[in-house]
């Protein structure tokens, strides 16, 4: 009996050693690639994290398939990029040929060698990187090398209830952030509480997600440009946080605002603007489409977010194409990325959308592509809608698009974000003061960064 047990265990031990050999990263695999715009391509390209859903995607996908040629089979693995899914593939040496990831993730993938630098790809396929928005390119550039081809841009604009503003004797200038004292005053005027319950949210500063925006508006960055030093305890950041939290405190605390905000019919006809329960807030530009769809008559007013000098400002995020290390068809992957993001593909896709919108009588609000040339051409396709509100929204969107900033790629990606978001949450939950919370966050974030940067040498 004991002998048998021992036999079993030794089998297990041997098996472990064997299989531990399998548990390699793709570090030992070489990615030999010849990138050339004129080569004929073949083989398989599996695309992880992208689904060909709307016309913007479908049209460009068709273009990409055409450019790659009939010998290439494209297999989409639909659904947002799931890190467990991706890592399982990488660990077993079975990575997809190309991944579609959030730009904010590229830094940590790049620093670990999960995705390869695209210098050769860009040269060989002649990708014009100057066509991409600098903030978009910054987010995917790590240690001087580009690791992702940017796609799409998401920016914020101030979306306000014009009726409520008017009734309180306020203008957009009072809520666009150009003067924080004005916003605080406007917040007090717009907020309405009845019987201890919040009835109208004056201004929603959208913490914790929008801390980078407010910090930048105050002239501070959360992280240094080289991605090595956290700057969370910068007095200007603390100032921004204190002000933004103050907005909530003036309304009875974050808990109340959050609870009220969550009970709103966000995507429906009873949304916060249509029901007159929100004064103003910064919000991503795609929400304009939703509002136009479900509550076209809502009394809206739009402007870009402004910094303390009154200049438009927006935090840009979006996606990017990257080639995993161990990709078995990097040549095709590169061409795929090029065609998906080139101006002509975007324009064709936008034209299709215009056609569809004309058919169903909807509003075409443009597409923020992350590609400057494409953006200009598509903006020219936009016709005045006849409704001043939505035109104002589109104008604000495109203005914001020209004044974006983003966070530089850094190897501690998620850990850094968790550190400052946790700090903000502690303040929102009343557990710490802004100064203490950011001091703690600074410690945690800097440690994460230091550890991550130290790893890179090894």
């Amino acid at each position: 009996m004991q002998r048998r047990a021992r036999a079993y265990l030794s089998v297990a031990a041997v098996g472990t050693v064997l299989l531990a050999g399998c548990a390699q990263g793709t570090g030992s695999q070489k990615t030999n690639a010849a990138y050339d715009r004129s080569t004929k391509l073949s083989g398989k390209v599996s695309v992880m994290g992208f689904g060909a859903t709307d016309e913007i995607a479908k049209v460009r996908l068709a273009e990409a398939k055409k450019a790659m040629g009939s010998k290439v089979t494209v297999k989409l693995i639909p659904g947002d990029l799931d890190i467990q899914q991706f890592l399982s593939g990488v660990a077993s040496g079975d990575a997809p040929e190309v991944v579609y990831a959030d730009r904010g993730q590229i830094g940590s993938f790049a620093s670990r060698g999960a995705v390869i630098p695209l210098d050769d790809c860009i040269k060989g396929e002649k990708i014009d990187t100057s066509a991409f928005r600098s903030s978009a390119l910054d987010a995917v550039t790590f240690r001087g090398h580009v690791y992702g081809i940017p796609e799409f841009n998401v920016v914020q604009i101030i979306q306000a209830n014009a009726d409520l503003l008017r009734k309180a004797g306020l203008t957009l200038d009072d809520v666009n952030g150009s003067s924080w004292s004005k916003v605080s005053a406007a917040n007090k005027k717009l907020t309405r509480t009845v019987g201890g319950k919040l009835k109208v949210i004056g201004f929603d500063s959208k913490l914790p997600e929008f801390l980078p925006l407010w910090a930048k508006a105050n002239g501070a960055d959360l992280i240094s440009a080289d991605g090595k030093t956290a700057q969370l305890d910068d007095p200007k950041v603390v100032q921004a946080l204190t002000w933004a939290v103050g907005i909530y405190n003036a309304q009875g605390g974050f808990g109340k605002v959050k609870a009220y905000r969550d009970s709103a019919d966000f995507f429906g006809s009873g949304n916060q603007y249509a029901s007159g329960t929100l004064g103003a807030m910064p919000m991503e530009q795609w929400y304009v489409n939703v509002l136009n769809d479900v509550s076209p008559k809502a009394p809206m007013a739009f402007d870009t977010v402004r910094d303390q000098q009154g200049q438009p400002i927006a935090f840009a995020s979006g996606s990017a194409w990257a080639i995993p290390k161990g990709s078995k068809n990097p040549g095709a992957a590169c061409r795929f990325a090029r065609v998906m993001t080139q101006t002509s593909s975007w324009v064709k896709a936008a034209q299709e959308r215009v056609r569809l919108r004309q058919k169903d009588g909807g509003l075409f609000t443009g597409v923020l592509t992350g590609n400057v040339d494409a953006d200009k051409k598509i903006e020219a396709m936009i016709k005045p809608s006849g409704d001043a509100r939505w035109d104002q929204a589109i104008r604000a969107t495109y203005t914001a698009n020209d004044h974006t900033f983003s966070m530089p790629a850094n190897p501690a990606g998620q850990e850094f974000e968790t550190a400052w978001q946790d700090g903000v949450n502690r303040v929102l939950n009343g557990q710490q003061s802004p100064k203490d919370a950011m001091a703690q966050a600074q410690k945690e974030a800097q440690k994460a960064l230091d550890d991550a940067w130290a790893e890179i040498g090894k």
Binding site: A91, S92, D265, F267
Partner: protein, 305 residues
């Protein structure tokens, strides 16, 4: 199991206590009308609490996007559009077939294998039994997140990634939870039954198949239903093992559809709730049909001897 069997000694101890407690007014069986009504009311309230969220889901699935969260039980605008849209452009039929295939295999294999192993641990005495059973328990104590990668590597080494095999094949070896559960039920069977059978010449296999299994039918049905629910709704395994959308199971397919509409956060909640309802309905049907066997299982236990 009759009253004269092994339970008797323990109950005899407590019977005097029971007599002593008889002073408390003698328990009237719940045959009286007040008791019955009280029971009915309690059950209804509890049922409402448990059922309400699902009713909300069903109601929401018939609403257009703008009304999903308006908290009305009866939709203001009743629409079947979601049920059409959710199947549109998606190989739903294929996904259903895959899901049924995986679920049936997973359920059948785990029930049989867990019963075998549980019986081994319950009936027999052998050296190292308790230690081994401790290991069974121990296997439940490891967080899934870390065993995910090694398990994936094993399946990859065996060449089965990308197929449906990893979704059910582990069940061939039993599952600690069900082994533990079934062992408890097997331990509850009186040994005299088996002694008697052995005297009649029955071997181990016959005792297992002809006595132990039938007597624990309710528990086996429970195992089957639980595993059905787990296999049907599993998302994690299809997510990491399946690449080709033709091989997806329903939960995996629905996730990809939901993510589709998620760009920029434009979640189409009305499709998410509809997908949730569609995923749940078959299970409700199976469960409702399956748990009749609870009742039948009961009927046989009282007439042994």
């Amino acid at each position: 199991m009759t009253a004269t069997d092994t339970p008797a000694p323990r109950i005899a101890e407590s019977a005097p206590l029971a007599v002593g407690a008889g002073r408390s007014g003698g328990g009237r069986p719940v045959g009286n009308p007040v008791g019955k009504i009280a029971l009915a009311v309690t059950m209804s309230v509890l049922t409402l609490a448990f059922v309400y969220p699902f009713v909300w889901l069903v109601s929401a699935s018939f609403k257009p996007r703008g009304e999903v969260f308006d908290n009305r039980l009866i939709p203001r605008t009743f629409t079947l559009h979601n049920y059409v849209a959710v199947w549109h452009d998606a190989p739903m039929a294929l996904w259903l077939v895959n899901t049924v295939y995986v679920t049936v295999l997973a359920t059948v294999t785990v029930t049989i294998s867990s019963a075998l192993v549980a019986w081994g641990f319950a009936y027999f005495r052998f050296r190292g039994r308790d230690l081994l059973f401790g290991l069974v328990l121990a296997s439940m104590m490891i967080p899934g997140a870390v065993t995910m990668i090694p398990t994936y590597l094993i399946w990859h080494a065996a060449g089965f990634t990308g197929t449906l095999v990893p979704l059910w094949a582990q069940n061939l070896f039993g599952s600690a939870f069900y082994i533990f559960l079934l062992r408890q039920f097997f331990l509850g069977l009186p040994r005299d039954l088996f002694e008697a059978a052995r005297l009649d010449g029955a071997n181990n296999w016959q005792m297992f198949r002809l006595i132990a299994l039938p007597l624990t039918r309710p528990a086996l049905v429970v195992v089957g239903l639980f595993e059905f629910q787990a296999a049907w709704t599993d998302l994690m395994r299809p997510l990491i093992y399946l690449r080709d959308s033709d091989t997806f199971t329903v939960p995996r397919g629905l996730k990809s559809m939901v993510d589709q509409f998620g760009f920029g956060g434009e979640f189409h909640w009305e499709l998410i709730v509809t997908a949730s309802v569609i995923t749940t309905l078959p299970m409700i049907v199976v469960f409702f049909l399956g748990q009749r066997h609870f009742m039948e299982g009961i009927a046989t236990t009282g007439t042994r001897g």
